[in-house]
């Protein structure tokens, strides 16, 4: 077993033992927000239709699965892979399509729409696996499904590397 594999499994087990409300692993996912070119309004509508804001993070640490923005993430945290919660690591590019979640920021109590852009173009990072499924739905509602590899929108960069969590709007008006 490679060191990465061992790390992955150790991370998965840590997530498993830490919280019962969080399923383990999964990966990939995301929908149509991504690029700033896409209008946010439909995303907001979709997100609010998908469920009530949920997922109050307890920790302000972007390398922790408990980070508040990660309430519906599914994949390796880019924060642990050379990027950050809002940027892809060097050598990868953000997926043009994503899916969204709605997470509450404990700092201001507001619910934010979070776009989970996959970072694409290298093999899976394998560090800081995190899967939380608040508001997640099956692939028949793809824009809120975290099971899909959203690198599909990248030109020949289908390889999934890690996941970011960009704030793209306020869910409450």
């Amino acid at each position: 077993m490679s060191r990465f594999d061992a790390l992955t499994q150790a991370a998965a087990r840590r997530v498993a033992s830490r919280t019962s409300r969080r399923s383990l692993l999964g990966w990939l996912g995301r929908l149509l927000v991504g690029g700033a070119a896409l209008p946010l309004l439909p995303v907001a509508r979709i997100a609010s239709a998908a469920g009530t804001p949920s997922g109050v993070g307890k920790i302000e640490d972007p390398e922790s699965c408990d980070y508040w923005r990660y309430c519906a993430i599914d994949g390796f945290l880019c924060s642990c892979c050379g990027g950050s919660a809002s940027s892809c690591p060097p050598g990868t590019t953000p997926s043009p399509m994503t899916w969204v979640g709605t997470c509450q920021n404990p700092a201001d109590g507001k619910a934010y729409i979070v776009s989970y852009n996959d970072c694409c173009g290298q093999q899976a990072c394998g560090r800081c696996m995190c899967n939380r499924n608040e508001g997640d739905r099956p692939p028949y509602l793809p824009w809120v499904s975290n099971d899909i590899n959203w690198c599909l929108g990248s030109d020949n960069k289908i390889a999934y590397h890690c996941s970011t969590a960009l704030l793209v709007g306020l869910a409450d008006k």
Binding site: G26, E134, Y140, L152
Partner: protein, 384 residues
């Protein structure tokens, strides 16, 4: 390598004078060969997502715990499409020409079920859905002539492959819907985001002949259906996030939607007992038993692992057993013989665990079975 061979030859030369009789009279050099595939009633494929890179399926013997063989299933592979009519199986696969970059090619690979060797492939549009696998990403229709693969680009379509002619036939557009649930030799269903179920009928060439949208089968805003359904004969059983079973009967010309029934009692539901996992449902067809992985959760826990399996008599729609698992499970499967085994795997741990499906007793754990154990597919013994 060459130097090692040279050393070996030298060693033999030195040994020969020491034990001349043993070397000369009894020694038979081995010829390189491939082991035959062992048969048995309790063989099971375990799909390894391998940290969502290139995946494989590994075949284990549940009785002995032995690893029997492996096949590669491409980048972020899915389950195998097992056939009964011919000794073949199929796999809808994705490859990138430079490993993790380059041109994407999607194919349906044809395997010989006796040798496990790939014997051919049929190229399909390079847009099949990649992601956490479920059995509904690709499916064989019932007479095993057509194989369907679900595409997401993000347009929703279905690729149709004619296995008899070994050709890609074309795509069927299923906008707003997703996934493939076979309803017969020329018919399939897809689940739709508005809570309807789309029924598509194919003609003899594999092209769309008719379609029908069945409205309001479920309410995705209130209680979505999991896409992880099980098939019991002519019936599909979909289970909602809250734990209601929605039967869809395909025996007649018209689909029939049975009344939903709950997995948990009112008290259990109040205590937040819910189904969850990656492959949380399994069927033992002969006894009409449905096995479900259960946990205590809440909103967003629909992929959580469980440590108990509740067993239902499908005819009576009643729970008949509660099994306790020794390890957490995200996937279960049951062999279809008269002495069934229950297989259990957890994405977060590398073991495949084997239980007596009737008694619930833990028989063995197969360690290091997979890096990321995903779907389980038992296969029957080969008919003599």
């Amino acid at each position: 390598m060459a130097s090692r061979i040279a050393v070996s030859v030298l060693s033999l030369a030195f040994l020969a004078p020491v034990a001349p009789h043993a070397m000369a009279a009894d020694f038979v050099a081995e010829a390189a060969k491939t082991a035959p595939l062992p048969d048995g009633p309790h063989r099971v494929w375990l799909h390894d997502l391998a940290t969502v890179n290139y995946s494989k399926a590994t075949l284990f013997d549940g009785d002995t715990g032995k690893l029997l063989a492996e096949v590669d299933t491409g980048y972020q592979g899915q389950e195998l499409e097992l056939a009964a009519k011919t000794p073949r199986f199929f796999s809808a696969e994705t490859y990138l020409s430079r490993g993790f970059r380059g041109t994407r090619t999607d194919v349906v690979t044809i395997f010989d079920a006796r040798t496990l060797l790939p014997t051919g492939e049929i190229e399909i549009p390079a847009k099949r859905l990649l992601g956490m696998p479920t059995s509904a990403y690709a499916s064989l229709l019932d007479d095993e002539r057509f194989l369907l693969a679900y595409n997401f680009s993000p347009a929703s379509t279905v690729s149709v492959v004619d296995l008899e002619r070994a050709v890609f036939v074309g795509e069927i557009e299923i906008a707003g819907c997703a996934l493939i649930y076979p309803l017969g030799p020329r018919r399939f269903a897809s689940l739709c985001g508005d809570g309807s179920l789309l029924e598509v009928t194919l003609d003899e060439d594999g092209r769309e002949k008719a379609r029908k949208a069945h409205a309001k089968v479920f309410d995705p805003g209130v209680d979505p259906l999991m896409e992880k359904a099980v098939r019991a004969g002519s019936q599909w059983l979909f289970v909602s996030f809250a734990g209601d079973v929605y039967p869809v009967e395909a025996a007649g010309a018209e689909l029939a939607f049975g009344a939903k029934w709950p997995l948990a009692s009112a008290d259990e539901r109040a205590a937040k007992w819910l189904p969850g996992g990656l492959q949380p449902f399994a069927l033992h067809a002969a006894s009409g038993r449905l096995y479900t992985v259960m946990h205590q959760g809440g909103p967003g826990s629909h992929k959580d692992p469980g440590r108990v399996v509740w067993v239902y008599d499908l005819a009576a729609k009643k729970r008949v057993q509660k099994l306790s698992l020794a390890e957490l499970a995200t996937s279960i499967a049951v062999s279809q013989d008269a002495a069934p085994l229950l297989y259990s795997a957890f994405l977060g741990a590398p073991a495949l665990v084997v239980y007596d499906a009737r008694a619930g007793s833990r028989l063995r754990a197969i360690e290091n079975a997979a890096v990321w154990p995903a779907l389980l597919q038992p296969i029957a013994a080969v008919a003599k």
